[in-house]
């Protein structure tokens, strides 16, 4: 490897007075296991209740629907934001739930762009002009009011980034207590030989800054608002009924 690696690492090892390690020592036992135990004993119903309550407290628009009225709910929410200029990932889960079709029926084919690999960077230009980007999350995190997006060739990073608003569809059953549970799953995938997605985004609200006199301003370079639409697939959220 002609990038200075060997000399660089030699220098570190020499300072420690030992040969170069090409592998770290095994991870020791940690002093406490709070990352694992925190929130881990709550019931599913309680977790989801806390999740919804916390998100609302920090200004995330969160709505709940049943699996059988996902398409209708999503279309209504979208309608409340915009007349058109919608971009949606080429996500089987959204297509199969009838979301894409419902949006096209409501707004017209030309107002709903499905992220398309063979259109290249045109996708990015479209996303930059859209009002709404619609994505499906892989998981949610209760502690921080987060949703997790993973990249894929059928999904665009731009869809949840360039349009002014993002609507995230999230299955209640994928909501986890906190980052620990997602992180350990990801470690297991890596150990099994999987290449991590080219980007994982753990999103906990719209973009914001407090750089000017520490006054919080919502909506900087990323989306100015975000809505989570939770699909109550475990049938335990009161609101969904």
């Amino acid at each position: 490897m002609a990038n200075n690696r060997d000399a660089f690492l030699q220098n570190l090892a020499a300072k420690y007075g030992r040969p170069v390690k090409t592998k770290a020592d095994p991870i020791p036992e940690w002093v406490v296991d709070f990352p694992k135990t925190r929130l881990a004993n709550e019931s599913r119903a309680k977790l989801l209740e806390s999740y919804i309550e916390y998100c609302r407290t920090v200004g995330i628009d969160i709505q709940v629907c049943r699996p059988d009225n996902l398409a209708q709910s999503l279309t209504e929410i979208t309608e409340s934001f915009t007349d058109g200029k919608i971009i949606i990932n080429d996500d089987k889960r959204l297509h199969e739930a009838g979301v894409t079709a419902s949006l096209k029926t409501k707004f017209g084919d030309s107002e709903v762009w499905v992220w398309s690999g063979d259109k290249g960077r045109e996708n990015i230009a479209v996303a930059a002009n859209c009002n709404i980007g619609i994505v499906h999350a892989e998981a949610g995190l209760v502690e921080s009011g987060s949703i997790i997006l993973e990249s894929d060739k059928l999904y665009g990073r731009s869809v949840s980034l360039l349009p002014r608003y993002t609507i995230v569809v999230l299955k209640a059953s994928t909501v986890l207590p906190r980052m620990h549970q997602y992180a350990t799953q990801l470690d297991a995938r890596v150990q099994a030989g999987e290449r991590t997605p080219s980007v994982v985004n753990i999103i906990s609200g719209p973009s914001s800054t407090a750089d000017i006199e520490l006054i919080k301003v919502v909506g900087v370079h990323g989306p100015v608002g975000i809505t989570y639409l939770i699909v109550d697939d475990e049938n335990i959220i009161n609101e969904a009924a």
Partner: protein
Amino acid sequence: MGLSTSNLPLKERIEKEVNNEVLRRNLIKAQNVIGANRKKMMDELGHFEEWRDLSKQIRNHVIDNLDGYLYQLAEKVEYNGGKVFFATTSEEATSYIQKVAKEKNAKKVVKSKSMVTEEIGLNEALEELGIEVLETDLGEFVLQIVDDRPSHIVVPAIHLSRTEIRQRLHDKLGYQGPETPEEMTKFIRDYLREQFLTADIGISGCNFAIPESGTVCLVTNEGNLRLATTTPKVHIAVMGMDRMAPNFENVDPLLTLLPRSAVGSRLTSYNTWLTGPRLAGEVDGPEEFHLVIVDNGRSDLLTSEFNEMLRCIRCGACMNICPAYRQIGGHGYGSIYPGPMGIVLTPILGGYETYHELPNICSLCTACDSVCPVKIPLSNLILKHRSNIARLGLSKLSERLAIKGFNLINNHPFLWDKVVRSGNSMLNLFSHKDNSPRGIFDVGVVKEWTKSRDLPRNEHSKSFRAWFKKHQQEKRNHG
């Protein structure tokens, strides 16, 4: 420019900042707000001391295995199709990045905030080649348009008022709107959006790299990091060589404490974990990924008495609680790393010759020790610096002579007794009746000291000991 943010000598710098009313108002507000938010978060988290012990343990494990983890990280990044460059010095790092920029024929670079890129002077190196470099973090952007330097590692433009910011936007970019943060932010959003879409290279730092997967984890709020790594075709991540976590499970505790310590949030708006380059078939995201690993003096810390400083996760909690920082802000320190972590780190990276005065900007109150999420004994390290600086003869001669004099007297009880007694009777020679210093003594340390304090005076004819001795004798005599 690298580490240094000012050409003024220390006293002048401090005078300037202390007399800046706007700055002090902003700093006090910043510390109060962020400090309260941090405390609220830690109370809510519970078991703060144990969480700190855990984070300290994780970071120590990484530092003890730096070569092993770096080897694994580099292997994995290359396996994923990325390129890795190990830079021993800041020049090696900037040369490599210049090379990549030239190869790509880059005209425009967008940057997300990164302290290590400031440390190595990256912007200047790219501008030398005629490349336009845009800071996209709102605070850094505002500083850049008038060539100002950061005064805090998390909220870099905290020393500016909204009026000053509006003035800059007006003068440099023709902004006509009001000075409300909302309107100015909207203006900057629109201005920079165009830049993101047409930039050739996106450059970021790295909060924590994960060796087993070749991932860089970034903690942000504004969306500029996401944009800088979505639309340009090349992404270059620059990392200080210690900035790693053992795996995803063990980056979580660090990401639990970092945003709480830095800004009082459970998590920032975006935790972006990038494993570049993008995969085949993906349309956005970088086609090419470079990881530049920077030493620049960090390896000197490994077995030194300052090695605990390597644990630092750059949260800024120490400067948010420091009473010295409260009065002078980052610019008073004259380094891009200000506050307690700055006065430990800057002399190490930049040398005692240039930075021997910094460790004096501290009252050793130890507040920083209690908030550091990875339990770095900052005040101890500051004291060690002072001791080294004195031994090297870099401290002021007058100070060293005064200490020598004190030691001499202190080591000889007879001398001590005589000096204290004579001092007592001569005390009033030094000051006027109103406790201000007399003419010839109103210089140097005495003059500075008495700007806000009185000199002591003795209004009695004898010392307390003399009086007490007499008093006890009288009691014995009268039974």
